[in-house]
Structure formats: structure tokens, C-alpha cells
Symmetry: C2
């Protein structure tokens, strides 16, 4: 799909196709449709990024809270979005050892108690060992820094989802 095809989409189709590039936040996709035409895929990505940056801090926390815990029971329970399930599986989070699963669950709880939002990381850019290490390290951050870090990860996830949808011949290209 080239950018002129993206720009020609009615909002219903645009939201149907791109509504989950930010997890469970179709409002963001639906909002940036107002800013068409986009000169490129990067311009669409930038519009999403700017919309997120303009939200109050509570709104950024809201985005993070729309994300599932990584490697949670949801991963096996079928309640995740398709995108999240595939990304987590690709990082090996659907095949943790019992010790890894237990450590992940414990750190998820610790992280959420500290920050009041879930740990968000771009699973497609990390493997399970790396994710566990970063989860552990990031538990020690300050709240504001961690909120900003989570939003950075949201944007990485968004970029890869956008590319996967538009550049179907090169879904992993950065």
C-alpha cells in the first residue's frame, strides 16, 4: 500500500486498518486522520507521535494502561489483541520456563505497584532474556522517567505495526 492509497482511505477503513497501531487506542488513529494527506509513512508516524506528545501526562499513562502485562495469563487465554499476541510470541514470551514465568510475573507486579501502569517494551526488538533484564532494571527508575520510557517503547511498537501494515513486502524494515 503506498501513501497515496493510505491518504485515500475513508476514516472507517483507516481506523479499521490502523486502529491498533497504538494498542487499544483507536482514538489516536482516528484523530490523525484529520491531518491527511501524509507525505510519507514517516509523516503518518510523526503525526501519531506528536498527538501522543501533546497529551497530558495522565493521557500518556492512559496509553500505557491500555497495554497488557507481558507474558501474563492473557497470552494463553486468547484475550490479547492479535498484534500483541504475535509480538510476544516472536520474542519467546509464550515459551518461558517455569522459573522465567514466575520471575516475569513477580517483576510485573513489582513494576505496577511502583509505577501504577504496566511495563511496556517493544517485544519485537528484544528477546525474552533482554526483556526480563530490562524489566528488572527499569523497576529502579523514577516514575516520570519511566513514563517517558514507556511512551518511547509505544512509539517503537507503533512504527513496526505501521510498517507491517503498509510495507507488506518488508514488514521488519526499519
Amino acid at each position: 500500500m503506498d501513501i497515496s492509497a493510505v491518504n485515500a482511505l475513508p476514516y472507517e477503513d483507516f481506523v479499521n486498518i490502523f486502529g491498533n497501531v497504538v494498542e487499544k487506542c483507536p482514538i489516536i488513529t482516528a484523530a490523525v486522520w484529520s491531518m491527511r494527506p501524509f507525505a510519507s509513512l514517516s509523516a503518518l508516524e510523526a503525526a501519531i507521535s506528536e498527538f501522543i506528545d501533546a497529551l497530558p501526562e495522565s493521557g500518556k499513562e492512559g496509553i500505557l494502561r491500555c497495554h497488557p502485562d507481558l507474558a501474563s495469563r492473557d497470552l494463553h487465554g486468547g484475550t490479547l489483541t492479535r498484534e500483541s499476541r504475535e509480538e510476544q510470541a516472536r520474542a519467546g514470551l509464550d515459551a518461558l520456563s517455569s522459573a522465567e514465568a514466575s520471575r516475569m510475573a513477580q517483576l510485573n507486579v513489582e513494576y505496577k505497584e511502583r509505577f501504577k501502569f504496566p511495563f511496556v517494551i517493544c517485544a519485537r526488538m528484544n528477546d525474552k532474556a533482554n526483556i526480563l533484564r530490562q524489566l528488572s532494571e527499569r523497576c529502579g527508575n523514577e516514575r516520570a522517567a519511566e513514563r517517558a520510557r514507556g511512551i518511547e517503547e509505544v512509539k517503537k511498537i507503533c512504527r513496526l505495526r505501521l510498517q507491517g501494515l503498509v510495507l507488506t513486502d518488508a514488514p521488519n524494515k526499519l
Copy 2:
């Protein structure tokens, strides 16, 4: 559920319960969780309203675009949220005559072509005749006025959904 029970909810439960008080916009619920404790249900409603008001105009259009067309094929196709399906059914929109359905479909198209977002009205506060009349009338509005009007209706829908979830003994009380 009294307000202290609402205030005691972890964000996951809060979003699970209240995530669709603004249609398909769980980010809003997830954001206002940051503002707990709420003194009352009205205070929670006000926090949602203020969050919406602080969004850029594109964000308000984004909210409107997350709403389904009224009395569309989705109503019979099972793709609506439970809340929207019940509200539309209560207004009689699942039992339109062929002439009414055709008129509604035509006006929905006209409305969306003019405004680039769907017609939003609090179905529970209107019957089908009233909805058809208002849809027809509102097609003549200016875009900015109609965006503001749509957001007013979003807030009415939100209030009734909140009341239905919290005041289970008096779901229709205003």
C-alpha cells in the same frame, strides 16, 4: 458500587469496568484513573469530561470516529460493543421499517460526507423518530458546531453508561 469501592479499584479492574463509557476509548478511562480519589460519581464524570475538553480538535474528532453509524448493518452483524447495541435497540433502531432504514442510511452518508465523522446522539434519550429528525436537522450545521454537539452527546452517553455501571439499582436515574 459506592465511590469508595470505585476508588479502591486497581487500574486493570477500573479499565475493565469503565473502559467503554466513552465508546472504544479506554485510554480516557485509563487516564482519569490517575486522578483518583473521586469524591463522587459526578466527580469521575467531570474528570472524563475535562479530559475530553482538553484534547485538540482532532482528538475530539477521533472520539466521534470511534462511534458506529446508528442503525447500520453493524447493528445486526454483531460487531457493535454491547453498550452500543443495547442503546440502539432501546431506541428502536433495530426495528426500523424499510423506509426508515433507507432514510437513516442515506442521511448517515450525507452527514459523514459533510463532517468527516459520524452522527453521534445519545440514543437512550431519544426514540427513532426523534433521532431521524435530529440527524436530518444536524446535517445543516456548521462543522465546528457539529463537532461540539457530537461531543456533548458523547458526554450524555458516558453519563448514562457510568450510572448504569455504578448505580445498578437505578440505572436510568439522571
